[in-house]
């Protein structure tokens, strides 16, 4: 129906009804933002009155910051892409026995056959998955530790970032414990998780039952304990070296030098003088010695097991003492 005043026939009324245009458009003016002279932005102080979480929330933040940085590209501690790549290579490398286990299962049914002895679950393989020298303790674990732990404290010393922890309600004990735990977690994920995956894969691939598990579980737990000792010791030594340096390179190279160098010197002395006592200075050999006992393997070393245990305890105690002392000396007001 056409309106009597004729406006509807031009279609303007509908536009006005829909968009409100036409009414006073000619007289109104646009509101244009006018910057105030000398001000480049509007500075507004916004108060905040939210709740602050308890101690465990703060500690978990430290832990998360360091562990998530391994997988997350941003938002957490930055690990160099090379470190992440190496971590991936180490994880894949430490999982190769699982692949070989699968292959041996597929090509052979013989439980006592060569392939099974080579890749299946037995004392030697469980020990070797954690404490085998080549490639794990020569190339993989020490390098992994050096790269993950090297900058953990030394970066804080160099950048002065210890101040952001200690000027907040984070105690030195919490700081040290969370740093240690985050490093140990990364090592544990790589070393212990792949070890557990290997054992689980053996059970699954071969369709083993409870009796098999009952037979092999004590050996598996022995190897797991040896792995825990390894993670503990490497983390402690690595973090102690990181805490006495302001350079992650120095800390990392010192760690590699100590782990590999002490082994090399002890080996040279063994072949020259036919004694294994000097292996007591080598963290790897002390761990290997204890690991052999835990898994139930004959020892490669002539010296008593007790000496390796004492040496391990002394190494860990000394490392943790150095670490604690260096953390205690970290300054808030200046470094």
């Amino acid at each position: 129906m056409i309106e009597s005043d004729g406006t509807a026939s031009l279609g303007e009324a509908r536009i006005e009804a829909a968009y409100g245009s036409g009414d006073g458009d000619d007289t109104s003016s646009a509101t244009v933002a006018r910057p105030m002279e000398g001000k480049i932005f509007e500075q507004i102080y916004r108060p905040w009155n939210g709740p602050l979480g308890p101690r465990w929330v703060r500690n978990y933040a430290i832990y998360r910051h360091h562990v998530y940085g391994i997988v997350s590209g941003s938002g957490h501690r930055r690990y160099h892409p090379f470190v992440r790549l190496l971590l991936l290579v180490v994880i894949l490398g430490s999982m190769t026995p699982i692949l070989m286990l699968l292959l041996s299962t597929l090509v052979s049914d013989d439980a006592t056959g060569f392939l099974n002895r080579m890749w299946g679950v037995n004392r030697y393989n469980l020990w070797g998955n954690v404490l085998g020298y080549f490639p794990r303790n020569l190339c993989m674990w020490p390098l992994l530790t050096a790269l993950v732990v090297g900058g953990l404290i030394s970066d804080d010393r160099r950048n002065g970032t210890s101040a952001i922890y200690f000027s907040r309600p984070v105690s030195r004990l919490d700081y040290a414990a969370m740093k240690w735990l985050s490093a140990a977690s990364v090592l544990a994920i790589v070393i212990l998780l792949t070890y557990m995956m290997y054992y689980s894969a053996a059970v699954v691939f071969k369709g083993e039952g409870w009796s098999y598990i009952a037979d092999t579980l004590p050996i598996f737990i022995g190897g797991l304990l040896a792995g825990i000792f390894l993670v503990f010791t490497y983390t402690s030594i690595g973090i102690a070296l990181s805490s006495i340096s302001t350079s992650r390179f120095t800390a990392s190279i010192s760690f590699l030098g100590y782990i590999l160098g002490s082994k090399l010197i002890a080996w040279l002395i063994e072949i020259q003088f036919n004694t294994t006592y000097v292996y007591m200075v080598s963290p790897y050999d002390c761990l290997a010695h204890v690991g052999q006992w835990l898994v139930g393997l004959p020892s490669n070393y002539d010296h008593p097991l007790a000496l390796s245990v004492i040496s391990l305890v002394a190494m860990n105690a000394a490392s943790l003492a150095i670490f604690a002392s260096r953390v205690a000396s970290l300054e808030v007001t200046r470094e």
Binding site: Y45, G50, R58, S74, R78, N159, I164, R168, P169, V332
Partner: protein, 320 residues
């Protein structure tokens, strides 16, 4: 002064045989407070004691009603601290850094993220917040440190040399921001700086330390009023003769090139200066009453203090 947020009584801290703080009594209310003192005067030790970071040898006190001896973590939850030296992780972006600073106080990650954006906007880094710290200028780093310190809207903000290494515009922005933090935040800003002008620009009150003791405390304007007034003249030609003329007639004169400051003894001083200028043919181009600033107070105290800490009120009155 408003109700004190920090109360320190008989605070004594010894490092072996060395006394870093010696019986410090201090009340700090809301507003801006400058802590001054030469190197080794005990400023850092006082900060550490107030933050509950070190064991106190003797005495005690409270911060926001919390005991500094037993409640260090609770105190550090309520205060913000902006360190003098670089304390930033160069690999993190500004927003990640501030968020992590918030999480270290116990904030939930989502709260900390939101708050990080808010405070970075406040310190002028809104457009730069996704850049990594290693690409920041000194001014931007200082602003990031301030953002980390105020992420939880603390009641007390400690700033250790906040304008260190800043150019004039960045310095002005930092001082404006601190002033705004006091006025809009309604809290306390405790600040140290070697630039007296900065302290004077932000703080109303000042505490001066020397040899582990408080030698001066009070409002800057009141302290300035207590300093002996001087007449400042700018002399072109004959300045040395005029200086000698004034000195021989018992006036106390400080000369800095063409500028001379003559201690004022009523209106006679001005008459004496004009008479001296007339007799020595010196051209006095400017004559005005000198407004002493914080630097004058500080220098005067330090000059007259010597090694022994005396009562400051007697010293600033010019009557040693």
């Amino acid at each position: 002064m408003s109700d004190p947020v920090i109360q320190i009584r008989g605070l004594r801290k010894m490092y072996g045989p060395h006394t870093a703080l010696d019986g410090v009594d201090l009340d700090i209310g809301t507003g801006g407070i400058g802590i001054l003192g030469p190197n080794g005067s005990g400023k850092s030790t006082l900060f550490k004691c107030i933050l509950g970071l070190i064991r106190i040898t003797e005495g005690g006190g409270t911060v926001l009603g919390k005991d500094i001896v037993t409640m260090g973590p609770q105190i550090r939850s309520s205060i913000g601290y902006m360190a003098e030296y670089d304390s930033l992780d160069p690999g993190l972006t500004a927003v990640d850094h501030v968020r992590y600073a918030g999480e270290l106080l116990g904030m939930r990650p989502d709260q900390a993220t939101q708050r990080a954006h808010e405070v970075l906007q406040y310190v002028g880094l809104e457009d730069q917040r996704y850049r990594t710290i290693d690409s920041f200028s000194t001014g931007m780093r200082q602003a990031t440190k301030l953002a980390c310190a105020i992420v939880h809207d603390p009641q007390i903000l400690f700033c250790d040399e906040p304008t260190n290494g800043l150019d004039s515009s960045a310095r002005q922005f930092m001082l404006d921001t601190l002033r705004r933090t006091i006025s809009d935040g309604g809290g306390t800003v405790i600040m140290t700086s070697h630039v007296m002008e900065d302290i004077q620009g932000v703080c109303e009150r000042v505490v001066m330390l020397s040899g582990g003791k408080i030698v001066l405390e009070g409002r800057i304007d009141e302290l300035a009023r207590q300093i002996t007034r001087e007449i400042e003249i700018s002399v072109w030609g004959g300045a040395t003769k005029l200086e000698e003329w004034l000195l021989t007639r018992g006036h106390r004169v400080r000369r800095m090139g063409r500028i001379m400051r003559v201690e004022m003894n009523g209106d006679e001083t001005i008459s004496a200066i004009l008479l001296g200028a007339s007799e020595t043919n010196a051209q006095v181009r400017v004559l005005k009453e000198y407004e002493p600033d914080l630097e004058d107070i500080f220098l005067l105290i330090m000059q007259r203090l010597g090694k022994e800490a005396k009562g400051a009120s007697a010293i600033i009155g010019g009557r040693e």
